[in-house]
């Protein structure tokens, strides 16, 4: 058979493959066509002087069958992953726990905001007393209205930050569940910032009382939930889960 006929056979095969692959995501389609094209080229070169292109194509199989293999759910999605099969929990097992923990963290943060709002008047009067004593001790002349407005600003800031915190918990939980690796990094940074905030602030305005004790315990619980979620997010099977969901590297990495 002439080269011309062989080329036509190959072109026809690749056309059928391209057509069958139209339902695949663009990057997977491009990769598949690229691989099959390279395979045919390698096989033709390997067969030397008398390449039997029809045989090469027959061995490759029906394009529709190849596309079907590409469209099948992934190995682990089928529950056939090694870790599922051996009963150690699937690759997403620890991530799933971390995501649930983060939703619990969001709920706990929301409760804290509600508790802060509910105890607002007690906090306000306790803060006012504490600040008055503080001002007197340091010999500062500050009016009650100035102190009151300062306290309002601080409380509003704390509530707004609390609500942003709830949103961030949910955001990181959702993104982690979808395998977004940035969520893991963001979660870690936020946890670090929260830890710092717990250590150096927020200012408690010198208040001592059952309300602040409850708020501190709640803040500690939220911190522990965050820590646990992070530990699960950085397990080895979690890393595998995130890696599996990472976008494909399109660059041709030439290693020497």
């Amino acid at each position: 058979m002439s080269d011309h006929n062989d080329d036509r056979l190959v072109a026809d095969y690749l056309r059928r493959l391209t057509s069958a692959a139209s339902a695949l995501p663009a990057d997977r389609r491009a990769e598949l066509i690229e691989e099959i094209t390279a395979h045919i080229a390698e096989a033709r070169a390997a067969q030397g002087q008398a390449p039997i292109v029809a045989d090469i194509l027959e061995r490759l199989g029906d394009p529709a069958q190849i596309v079907q293999a590409a469209a099948e759910p992934s190995f682990s999605e089928l529950g056939a992953g090694p870790h599922v099969a051996s009963g150690h929990g699937g690759p997403a097992g620890h991530v799933r726990i971390a995501v649930r923990l983060m939703y619990v963290g969001a709920a706990a943060s929301l409760i804290k905001v509600i508790v802060d709002l509910a105890t607002e008047s007690t906090t306000r009067s306790a803060a006012l007393t504490a600040l008055k004593i503080g001002a007197k001790k340091s010999g500062l002349r500050v009016s009650a209205s100035q102190l009151g407005s300062g306290i309002t600003d601080t409380l509003v800031l704390a509530w707004v930050l609390g609500l942003i915190g709830v949103g961030l918990w949910i955001l990181v939980a959702r993104a982690s569940g979808r395998g977004k690796d940035w969520a893991r990094a963001t979660g870690s940074v936020l946890f670090g910032l929260y830890t710092l905030a717990l250590l150096i602030g927020p200012p408690n305005m010198g208040i001592r009382g059952p309300e602040t004790a409850a708020a501190r315990i709640l803040a500690g619980i939220i911190w522990l939930i965050g820590l646990a979620a992070l530990v699960f997010l950085w397990q080895r099977d979690s890393s595998r889960f995130f890696k599996a969901h990472a976008p494909r590297d399109h660059g041709a990495k030439l290693a020497n």
Binding site: R28, E35, H39, E42, D62, A70, F75, S76, G81, R240
Partner: protein
Amino acid sequence: MVAGEAGNLVAQMRRGVLPYCVLAMLREKEWYGFELVHALGGIDGMVTGEGTVYPLLARLRRQGLVETSWQESATGPPRRYYRLAPAGREALADFTGSWRRLRDSVDGLLASSADDPPSSPGAPDQATD
């Protein structure tokens, strides 16, 4: 269960174990796509169409079980080489243990049923002189 179903079952089993067979091939050395696919195609009953191995390789890479790198070829365009990732090695070790247990159990059952007289399943062992 009906007669002839075994063929379908074997096809499903083959599809299930094929990823591990690929991981096993990559245990000792790196392979480039064509070389690996061609070698698999040469093993009796391993793949029905060589082309279906490429989507499998892409999936293993996305799952972090294999790693790839492009290397120059003396005879043509650069080749994508596949090698076993640490996660793949772990997955293969898990599978190897499970597979051997299952294989031995099935072999044991098949062997003993082949030895039994077909008309007396579960009958006490026959006395021998």
